[in-house]
Amino acid sequence: MEVLFQLAIFFILLALGYLFGRRAESKHYQQIFAREDQLRHIVVLNQRFPPPGMLAHRTDMVCGNVVISVDYFKTVVASLRNLVGGNISAYESLLDRARREAVLRMQEQASLRGAETVINLKFETARVSGNAGRAIGSVEVLAYGTALIGPGK
């Protein structure tokens, strides 16, 4: 009996994690696609120096960060992966979303300041490890760069 209760709790948590996690992910992706289209005019580059035509621009640091949590379903898939090895594609989509969201937030900041280009884009990722012991971890992704703001803005 105890075994069955344990299995039932496990599968309920798994189903909830799957349903909510999946819904959140697809909604987030729709949002990302729409916002990327809106901010496409803010060019993001990772070169270190301003292009020749923008040497007179004012520079400003802009950054965007996001903290995103793993859902129960993804941790289960990842734990199973830990046993056999291979791509943890459940985490790949999670981190893809986090990086793109961070860049979008950075672009929004740049857009507010009237910038048209952001150079020297860099990423940093940190694990928020408070609850990492229980495998339900969160990651922070920080994107930062130098916004080039044209004269008169």
């Binding site: 069955l4 496409r40 280009t117």
Partner: protein, 290 residues
């Protein structure tokens, strides 16, 4: 170098592949569970082949002594305990005439090492544990009508000991637990580890059920050699089966085969008896109102 006019649209499905997460989960879960079940099965099989060959003296040294749960000082209890010992010893003597795979049972577990105890438990139960210790609960006594009924229960437990089931079950539990702890131990996700472990443990239950049926078969042979017939052998299961409290749960999740199935086995064997099935009355000290 000219500056792009806008950020490019990167095609989807390169960084984050469009694999269906549920499919990945199902494939992984099925694969890992199958692997674990196969491992547990292989380990159990290995234990089953090896455990019966361990000397009984080792088992005796490792066995914790069964504490008596009844009041040994009270006169009726002491008399009941004595009567149980007496019946146990008599059955043991008869069991020595039934060889195990051509071997003398005495050479496997010496008859003088057996201990019988009456336990003051509220459930009708009997069990055999490490070190040839056999316990019968007080409540069981009210579930049998004659000495033959109790003899079948005792013979079943004697059979477990002679077939080396207690050491097999204990070794198997330990080996499997160590193996699972090694594989799943570092798995930070307790519930997943627990569920995979629980799944593998279900595999063990089939081994337990097989042991019960083996013990039943040997018990029937012992009882037949002792009384010359199987009259009354089905008493305990008949009374348990008619008990409204007895649950009929899925057989797969039980350590014991269903009462019905065991009753059927015993009653089929009883039909082969041609002599009249006269049962012996229960010793006075062991009589309990049903």
């Amino acid at each position: 170098m000219s500056l792009p006019r806008g950020n490019p649209r990167i095609p989807e499905g390169i960084n984050a592949r469009n694999t269906h997460p549920m499919r990945e989960f199902l494939v992984l879960a099925a694969g890992v569970s199958a692997g674990l079940v196969a491992l547990v099965f292989a380990l159990s099989l290995a234990v089953r082949l090896m455990a019966p060959h361990s000397p009984f003296a080792w088992e005796l040294a490792a066995a914790p002594a069964l504490e008596s749960l009844t009041d040994e000082n009270s006169e009726p209890q002491a008399a009941a305990s004595d009567a149980l010992q007496e019946l146990g010893k008599a059955l043991l003597a008869s069991s020595l005439t039934v060889p195990i795979e051509g071997k003398d049972p005495q050479s496997i577990v010496p008859a003088e090492d057996f201990r019988f105890a009456l336990l003051g438990l509220d459930i009708p139960n009997a069990f055999a544990t490490l070190g040839a210790q056999i316990a019968v609960s007080e409540t069981l006594l009210s579930h049998v009508e004659s000495e033959n009924g109790l003899a079948m229960v005792l013979a079943h437990e004697i059979a477990h000991v002679q077939l080396r089931h207690p050491i097999e079950a204990a070794s198997r539990g330990m080996v499997v637990q160590i193996a699972l702890a090694t594989i799943l131990g570092n798995n930070a996700n307790g519930l997943l580890g627990g569920s995979l472990g629980a799944g593998s443990m279900l595999t063990l239950l089939s081994f337990n059920r097989e042991m019960e049926l083996q013990a039943d078969r040997r018990a029937l042979a012992i009882v037949r050699s002792h009384y010359g017939h199987l009259g009354g052998a089905d008493e305990f299961f008949r009374n348990i089966a008619s008990d409204p409290d007895s649950t009929t749960w899925l057989e797969f999740t039980q350590t014991h085969p269903s009462t019905q199935r065991r009753l059927q086995l015993i009653q089929t064997a009883m039909k082969r008896d041609t002599t009249t099935l006269t049962t012996q009355p229960m010793a006075d000290a062991l009589q309990r109102s049903g």
